[in-house]
Symmetry: none
Subunit: 214 residues, 4 copies
Amino acid sequence: MPTQGEATKRQLLKEQREAQILDAAARVFARKGYQRATTKEIASEAGVAEGTIYNYFDSKRDLLIAMASRLALDSLHELNSLPPREDVKAYVLALVTNRFDLLLKNIDLVRALMPEVLVDDDLRQAYMDEVLSPAVSYLGEYIDDRIQAGGFRKVKTDVVARTMIGAVMSFGFLWLQERSEVDERSHEELVSEVAGLFLDGLRVRPVEENDRES
Amino acid sequence: MPTQGEATKRQLLKEQREAQILDAAARVFARKGYQRATTKEIASEAGVAEGTIYNYFDSKRDLLIAMASRLALDSLHELNSLPPREDVKAYVLALVTNRFDLLLKNIDLVRALMPEVLVDDDLRQAYMDEVLSPAVSYLGEYIDDRIQAGGFRKVKTDVVARTMIGAVMSFGFLWLQERSEVDERSHEELVSEVAGLFLDGLRVRPVEENDRES
Amino acid sequence: MPTQGEATKRQLLKEQREAQILDAAARVFARKGYQRATTKEIASEAGVAEGTIYNYFDSKRDLLIAMASRLALDSLHELNSLPPREDVKAYVLALVTNRFDLLLKNIDLVRALMPEVLVDDDLRQAYMDEVLSPAVSYLGEYIDDRIQAGGFRKVKTDVVARTMIGAVMSFGFLWLQERSEVDERSHEELVSEVAGLFLDGLRVRPVEENDRES
Amino acid sequence: MPTQGEATKRQLLKEQREAQILDAAARVFARKGYQRATTKEIASEAGVAEGTIYNYFDSKRDLLIAMASRLALDSLHELNSLPPREDVKAYVLALVTNRFDLLLKNIDLVRALMPEVLVDDDLRQAYMDEVLSPAVSYLGEYIDDRIQAGGFRKVKTDVVARTMIGAVMSFGFLWLQERSEVDERSHEELVSEVAGLFLDGLRVRPVEENDRES
DNA sequence: CATGAATGAGACTTCATTCAT
DNA sequence: GATGAATGAAGTCTCATTCAT
């Protein structure tokens, strides 16, 4: 009869194993894409036998689902670490930085998930519901806030939120090729430039402010 | 011995067949994704035998490459149909509309290509070189133009160009799910809203224009 | 464009191939049982590649289904070749012989099917509906006939029909072990003995005929 | 050092465990068939860990062998509970009832064993030697007895014995499908009908009794 | 040129058995 | 003795590509 301590230890080992396999899968998926990745390679990368994978996950596909959940959790977690919203400029900068960091930190996961998200209906729905929508909502609420406080123009909140997030994400796409290209300096510059675009747009002094907003 | 006329006719037939197969492949890839699409289904969709595909293309993969070229050509062709650049607001509006239209018109192609572009190095390189970079260059040049003409703030041209294109493209991602959701009215609103964001940003009258641009 | 003759030839080839694969499968199933038989071995026995099997059958299981249909057809076909029913003794002899022959001729098929029929609900249903029930009906009708003609006692037709068929089939079970044991002489003796049992039973002169049939 | 009492208790526990596992295996085999049954499911059904099975049995196959022995024992045991042989009619009725009851009582075991018996040489040999042959011998001896006492016609004892047993067993096959169908009344009717067939055959008064038995 | 049957490598998954705890 | 995680061989099935007709 196992003592409670032993049970806990065993539970811990199981969780470690699960993470070990999931990490390996993420790396292999990132290298090869989901379809081209083989369970054999994942097993070898994780240092376990092929059959062991199936003691922790129901199928190859299940590995992908588990990854999406991980990303969703991390995305929310990161949003909650943002600074207070008083200083608009600082806040938008932090926001952009935040999303860039999330992207960079999870670039392997993203690389693994994106292709399948594009092709698989269930997975896309899950991604939209659990990752994209919460982020759009969060950003949308902030923009609304600022509009009512008089700091932002009366834009269509949801469209703008989506545009901003999309803009940031599209850099992830760029980084898929050569991450090395993105060094520290350019990364900060990038963030400030993108934040600047969102805050002030391209135009010098939009004189006829009132002619917009039908 | 075939006359020149016959040779031309034969050439024409060949091109028709090629297009017929490529169209079928695009539809199947869009439905199933590249990996899950089978040559059997493509053949059936094209109304030819499986072997016939291999008289026109070297491999399944070759079909994908041919599609990327098609998209590249169309992308450039569309850019060339833009109106003159005098009116900044109208022009940016046209630009955004232009990219949106390209995306919508080729949504099947995009859906087929994106996943593989994310995973396949050669294909990604081709896509970047032939589709993305030309578009970024084109937009970058225009922004440079306007900066020198004093209409735009001194932004980092390439970063901003890429951000704008990425923002537009990310809507394609959204449309992968339910295109029906995007009706005419909202589509125009969308374009104007996105164009507005790029031109004027979020902030109400950035009074201290000179405090930016470190 | 294939001529009609070519189309027919091709069709013929396809049917030959199908039979070739099915025969091979029957032999392997008979040797190993369905579960232990591998598609690899079936392919090798049929002299084709493993994949070829799947050009003709949807699954390994489909091979079994096809076999059951074959047996059903053959069973009916054999019943139709029975002699006229006038001479009761000759007829029952022919009947028993007929079923024995069917069994012997298809002993491989039976050996392949029986185990799965015992275990698989769908297959069992199919076997009952298409092989057993028709045979029971056929025999039952004959017995009814004879009862009304006054030649047979008033037995419960269905029970007796099933008992007779079961008795015959159970010899198949015996033959699964060593068919060699069953030589010509003993086979004929067997048939006449079994037929005799069914016709006259074990008892010497059942004097009190009327005390049965409650 | 364990005392003798402890050793006995230990022995008892061991046998209980063994039976517990064997019962579970019988149930699972009956549900799924031997091949499709998994040791995991057997363990779960028995309420032990998978590895524990291997402390009591050498292999999954060993479970099956143990079951065959059980059935053999039960078969003999049942035969020994038959009434005295004076009244022929009553005795044959009892005999048929006896075999039917054995079959019904062990229907799960039979369902588990039959498929494998058909396919596995060793198991079939064991089944024939330990279950079938003893029953055939027993019945054969009785028939011989009656023939010499003048009550039965001079039939070929072994053939008839086998036919009778086979006829009864074939009903087991029928019951594999829906046991519910077989209620008490029909069961008794069945027994009497089958016994009647064996005793008196189909024919009304076989007048020319002496023309048989060449 | 068109056809489509044949190929066979390789994918995912299952599961009886072992063994360290 | 009991446990159950790990193993890895083996199985079924898919599908891009070839080639004889």
